[in-house]
């Protein structure tokens, strides 16, 4: 280890290895910090007036755990903070990591916490300084920065905060401890109940935020599955002007009585119209506000179909490469201190932004449009102005480009749109023809191609003008069910209701998928999801109460501002939890039976591929031979003696029903994945036209 050859140094702790490298390079006089390793743990030595050692963490190195060991009991109310390797399987690497940090701490004379400046980062740094460095939390300084650019890192090193942010740490510790108490006790209650009833193990989980989130989904699913549509009618008129045809809408958007709709249709058929009024208005469309994490996740989902977690991971990578500012922010503000001009000037070095940035740089003043939300720790997400040092992959490129264009758009002028509403009288009935066009592009121009403004250009029309009505038609319509949530709309709902934090929401949504409580992009609640929520609502309604969860969130936030005490929040949380756990323990058998049946059903459902195309009434399912244990696909009607359809299946790899039918023949399909090979979709129809096409293609290729 190199420390033996060095004198006393400053030890800087970072959250991730990438950040350590960036910080060390930024602080080294030559801009090239030396990378060293101890037992496979990387750390960096930066040379300047005094040596600096920068050592990274690997995210959280410490976690909350019960004082007593064992996983199969509850309730658990006594806990302590321990190294992750002591509490989690598969965290062995953490032991060597902590040993290296402890060794490096021995010869350090100054300590600086440079983890991300938020709740999670503050706890990571605090735990390392307290436990691995030997109670150095009291003497450590804190680097605060929002980007990993050289200038900002240099400044935050030169002017560190004099001590750690202890209120932020208190708030974070409380959040982790409360979440642990709820998560461990409730999840164990469910898992143990199901295991003791069925003798089989399946992980079931719930928590302080997961339960109420599942509740949103179940409420929507119930409304969706119980929905009965009602009929209504829409009337449209085809209007011909200057050789072009336009569609005009009837004055009543919905007509709920068929006879009334028929009467309007009969009255208007074959009649000309007369323009009664032309209403032209100009609308000012304000520029968008800068991205906070939630808004970026929603936009990336809408534009690229990325899940909130994927967007969050991509943004984290872009941040670690110093391309964007810290993404886990709820701020919608861009303070002038970030230096708008410098960022735009740097961005102008990229050919695709050259023209747009030049336009903005000619403005006498750059003033961003901002939203209301503030975050004391970080500004809204913005590009640092640095250009990528490597070729970004397609998804990284898209998210970065979106952030750059949004940043430029917030400095744009308002767009001016013109709307034209023409009222046409057809035999006493009014139809409206609507036109829209952009008079001044303003900010829209900077946000292309991520913003589309629909243009409907109408020819010049005058009041009193006679209009040729080509056709009047009646359309049968039905009311639609409330849409199922998707990951993006669910995230928005969680934000609105104040449950979870910007750092945890995306992971909670993913957990619901991992536990098989929901499936598909349009989130469908599974039977298991229904049963888990039913148990929670029946035996512990408080923990799935949205009001309770958001109130607890508020109290935890107050710790951050010193207006609430950590001890009070913890005591109250345990007081609420105790009777809940007692009730669950009391009803363990009933709950176990209910959950076991749901798990059994869910496991069976996972093996169903789709409707049997041969008999039409059975279902094709992955089955296992009693004799050989080998898997195959068979029809469920076989057991009733009605259908003998069966197909062989590969014995290697995983086979997952796709839930989609083959585009060539309409038979159900599965997705096959074998380690080390490219995965593929398999259709069971031996006469599938796609198979024939493929065979012919291969034959042709071989002949050539």
């Amino acid at each position: 280890m190199v420390r033996a050859r060095m004198g006393k140094y400053t030890l800087i702790i970072t959250e991730k290895p990438d950040a350590a490298q960036r910080i060390a390079s930024a602080l080294d006089v030559k801009g090239k910090a030396k990378k060293l390793e101890d037992n496979g743990v990387p750390y960096y030595v930066a040379k300047r007036d005094k040596d600096i050692v920068v050592v990274p963490a690997l995210g959280h190195l410490y976690t909350v755990a019960e004082e007593r060991s064992g996983r199969s009991y509850y309730p658990v109310f006594s806990f302590k903070w321990v190294p992750r390797y002591a509490a989690e399987r598969g965290a062995k690497q953490i032991r060597t990591w902590l040993e290296t940090i402890s060794k490096l701490a021995k010869d350090a004379e100054r300590f600086i916490d440079a983890c991300d400046y938020d709740i999670e980062g503050s706890i990571i740094g605090y735990c390392i300084l307290k436990y691995a460095c030997g109670d150095k939390d009291g003497i450590s300084k804190r680097m605060k920065y929002s980007t990993l650019t050289e200038e900002e890192l240099e400044k935050s090193y030169a002017e560190p905060l004099p001590h750690l942010d202890f209120t932020l740490i208190e708030a974070g510790r409380t959040r982790h401890e409360v979440d642990w108490l709820y998560g461990v006790n409730l999840s164990r209650a469910l898992t143990i109940a199901a295991r003791d009833w069925s003798g089989k193990y399946a992980t079931l989980s719930t928590g302080r935020v997961q339960g109420p989130t599942l509740r949103f989904l179940v409420a929507r699913e119930k409304a969706f599955r119980s929905f009965v549509p009602t009929p209504y009618w829409e009337i449209k008129a085809e209007v011909e002007m200057n050789g072009s045809v336009f569609e005009a809408e009837y004055e009543e958007e919905r007509i709920e009585i068929k006879s009334k709709a028929d009467a309007v249709l009969n009255a208007c058929k074959g009649k000309d119209g007369q323009v009664e009024k032309v209403d032209i208005r100009q609308l000012r469309q304000m520029p968008p506000i800068p991205f906070d994490l939630g808004a970026l996740q929603r936009e990336a989902y809408g534009l690229f179909g990325y899940t909130p977690r994927r967007t969050s991971n991509i943004a984290q990578r872009l941040y670690l490469e110093a391309l964007i500012s810290y993404p886990r922010t709820s701020s919608q503000k861009l303070p002038p201190a970030i230096n708008y001009k410098a960022i735009l000037k740097n961005l102008s070095k990229a050919s695709e932004y050259k023209k747009l940035t030049a336009e903005l740089l000619t403005k006498p003043e750059l003033k961003p449009k901002e939203g209301k939300k503030e975050d004391p720790a970080h500004p809204a997400i913005y590009p640092t102005g640095n250009l990528p040092e490597r070729v970004l992959d397609a998804s990284e490129r898209k998210v970065w480009d979106l952030i750059v264009r949004r940043f430029m758009a917030v400095f744009g002028e308002s767009a001016i749109r013109q709307s034209m509403k023409v009222c046409i009288n057809v035999n006493g009935h009014h139809f409206y023809l609507r036109g829209r066009r952009t008079l001044k592009e303003g900010w829209l121009h900077f946000h292309e191609p991520y913003v589309r403004s629909e243009e409907v250009l109408l020819p010049p029309i005058e009041e009193g003008q006679t209009i040729n009505i080509r056709k009047v038609s009646l359309e049968d319509k039905f009311t639609k069910p409330p849409p199922r949530y998707n990951p993006s709309s669910l995230l928005k709902r969680m934000e609105e209701k104040g449950i979870g934090t910007k750092a945890t929401r995306a992971n909670i949504i993913q957990t619901l998928y991992d536990r098989k409580y929901v499936r598909d992009e349009r989130m469908v609640v599974t039977d298991l999801g229904f049963e888990v929520l039913e148990v929670l609502e029946k035996y512990c309604p408080t923990v799935v109460s949205i009001k309770f969860t958001s109130e607890l969130e508020e109290r935890m936030d107050k710790i951050q501002t010193n207006s609430e005490k950590r001890e009070n929040v913890l005591v109250d949380a345990v007081e609420i939890l105790k009777p809940v756990i007692e009730e669950l323990k009391d009803k363990e058998k009933t709950i176990g039976e209910q959950l076991s049946n749901a798990i059994k059903k869910a496991r069976l459902e996972e093996r169903i591929i789709g409707a049997c195309p041969v008999c039409g009434t059975g279902k094709l399912m992955i089955l296992y031979s009693r004799k050989t244990g080998k898997r195959f696909v068979g029809c469920t009607n076989y057991f009733k003696g009605l259908c003998k359809t069966s197909f062989p299946l590969l014995q290697k790899g995983t086979v997952r029903p796709l839930g989609k039918n083959c585009r060539g023949c309409g038979w159900p399909t599965v997705h096959v994945r074998i380690r080390g090979k490219r995965s593929w979709t398999l259709c069971f129809n031996p006469e599938c036209p796609l198979k024939e096409e493929r065979r012919k293609r291969i034959e042709m290729r071989n002949m050539q």
Binding site: K222, R225, S226, V228, E256, K258, F478, P481
Partner: protein, 71 residues
């Protein structure tokens, strides 16, 4: 008592909580259908079974109501 449709326990009037909600929705919406299309209960049930926008539980209840002749 078990639900006449899904065999779940804890039923009221023959339906579990989930199918009861669907049944109530069917009964409530019939008033609208009757007013706008002047159709009978049976015709209404057949229409909602055919409709792709009808929820899964509502369809199950409608099929049961037709088969059992109950209202």
């Amino acid at each position: 008592m078990k639900c006449v449709i899904c065999n779940r326990e804890d039923c009221e009037n023959g339906y579990c909580e989930l199918h009861r909600k669907a049944y109530e929705s069917i009964v409530k919406k019939y008033e609208v259908w009757k007013k706008v299309l002047e159709i009978s209960w049976k015709e209404y049930l057949s229409e909602i079974i055919k409709n792709p926008l009808t929820g899964e539980w509502a369809k199950e209840v409608a099929v049961y109501l037709i088969e059992s002749g109950e209202k």
